[in-house]
């Protein structure tokens, strides 16, 4: 009758004693590494290219979604299920609106058209930003869950934010956050001197234009921060700022009660 311990000498399983019925003690670190599947890796550039294309693809899909929503609304209005948009404000029909516009001077009409187009562009960009942020929330949440697997729960929000800076940042952008500041009253400022998504961004129209465009690329990272913190139990607001490329700052506001 071979002793059970001698069958697995290489794993050095501790002998089971009758005073310790829990089998958790059998899980040595060596066993744990054997049981976790090997972490697959991919090149970081692949993810970067995917995100760049995703931004473009989401702009298209947002436009399609908006136009199909508009079409449904229009169909409902034609069928009489929805009131017209300016009902009760006097001039409701499109013809009346055209007549009103016709009374204005041409320059003013152009101004109105331009403002409407700018608003539409802002709406479009807002739609893409929203989608990118939602993507980030999903990714951040799942990533936080995976990385927290065998850890104790974080008691202090500061610990959660530090986890974000030290573990999640390298998992996504292969480096840690450069600077973390807090006022210990729920506001945290993360600074990254060379933020990867912004590192190779430039615009032929000058640096101010590039900074404006950079805002869109920060939507996904904001989402990641938001999602990761939410999965750790902290619901806060995240905003991002860029003053000089490729440096950027993220501000996290976590209300005290959460």
């Amino acid at each position: 009758m071979a002793n059970r311990a001698s069958l697995t000498p290489s794993l050095q399983a501790p002998t089971i004693s009758s005073t310790n019925p829990s089998t958790a003690s059998l899980l040595t670190p060596a066993l744990l590494t054997l049981s976790s599947p090997p972490q697959a890796q991919v090149d970081i550039n692949v993810v970067e290219y995917l995100l760049i294309e995703a931004t473009r693809a989401l702009a298209d899909s947002a436009r399609v979604a908006q136009s199909s929503k508009d079409a449904v609304e229009q169909a409902m209005r034609d069928a009489g299920w929805l009131p017209a948009p300016d009902a009760g404000k006097g001039e409701t029909t499109a013809a009346a609106r055209e007549a009103a516009l016709g009374r204005l001077k041409d320059q003013v009409r152009e101004e109105v058209e331009r403002a409407r187009r700018a608003k539409k562009e802002d709406d479009d960009e807002g739609a893409v930003r929203l989608r990118l942020e939602n993507m980030g929330v999903q990714v951040g949440g799942n990533l936080a869950e995976k990385l927290c697997r065998d850890r104790q729960r974080f008691t202090d929000p500061l610990d959660s934010v530090k986890f974000l800076c030290k573990e999640i940042w390298p998992a996504v952008w292969d480096k840690q956050v450069d600077n973390l500041r807090t006022n210990h009253r729920g506001v945290y400022v993360l600074q990254d001197t060379s933020f990867r998504p912004l590192a190779r961004l430039s615009s032929p129209f000058g640096s101010q234009e590039a900074i404006k465009r950079a805002k869109l690329h920060l939507a996904f990272p904001c989402g990641i921060i938001k999602g990761a913190l939410a999965r750790l139990g902290l619901n806060g607001m995240v905003t991002a700022e860029v003053n000089t490329l490729p440096q950027c700052t993220f501000q996290i506001k976590i209300p005290k009660s959460s």
Binding site: Q41, L50, R131
Partner: protein, 213 residues
């Protein structure tokens, strides 16, 4: 055949030489969130397939430049070699996986007098012949980790990893090969294997801009 390069070794070296690697799960999560968002917006699985392929095409046109810069490989002599490079060097250096590859020569022309079709014409420089194809069998697919397709997606004809077909088409077009890449099967749809067939449509001639000799 005697001086066939060891593509597997080249692929391994390229992967090891990459300094910036990240967890593949991030890639899966990001891609998954993106596909879900596209499905919500388009509400049409065939349209989502098309959009994924289009995205892949754009990504492929960039990837090939990255690939050429790092790998320094010369021209491929025939389509068979193209397949080997794609599978052993391309996939390996970006995604750290090597799909299995099965080659097929073009179907024999019906009106050909010769008994056996020669894969490459003798005399002139060997060129890939249209109709050649290869099938890549992906044993592991980082895009499809932890993904479970609902019934309606399977019935709607969604190819989850269709971006890969676009990447193949885009990158090969940049090296003058017009190909068609389609999924034959996908484990996410309940099939046994995940397979992509790449067929050469035609060899794109380099266009000389008008006015130059």
């Amino acid at each position: 055949m005697a001086n066939r390069l060891n593509y597997k070794q080249i692929g391994d070296d390229l992967w090891k030489g990459r300094t910036e690697k990240i967890n593949a799960e991030l890639f899966s999560f990001t891609y998954g969130a993106l596909v879900v968002q596209l499905i919500q917006d388009y509400e049409d699985y065939q349209e989502v397939n098309k959009q994924l392929e289009k995205m892949g095409y754009n990504i492929g046109t960039r990837l090939i430049e990255d690939f050429m810069a790092r790998s320094n490989l010369g021209r491929c002599t025939d389509f068979r070699e193209v397949g080997e490079v794609v599978a052993k060097v391309g996939f390996k250096s970006f995604l750290n996986l090597t799909p299995l590859i099965t080659h097929s020569s073009p179907p024999a022309p019906i009106s050909s007098p010769s008994p056996a079709p020669a894969p490459t014409p003798a005399g002139s420089a060997p060129r890939p012949s249209p109709g050649s194809s290869f099938v890549l069998t992906l044993e592991e697919n980082p895009l499809a980790e932890m993904v479970d397709l609902p019934e309606e997606a399977v019935e709607g004809g969604l190819w989850w990893s269709n971006v890969l077909c676009g990447v193949l088409r885009g990158s090969l077009e940049m090296v003058q090969l017009q190909v068609e890449a389609i999924f034959l099967s996908d484990v996410l749809r309940g099939d046994e294997t995940t397979e992509i067939r790449v067929t050469l449509k035609r060899y794109l001639e380099e266009e000389v801009p008008a006015g130059e000799d």
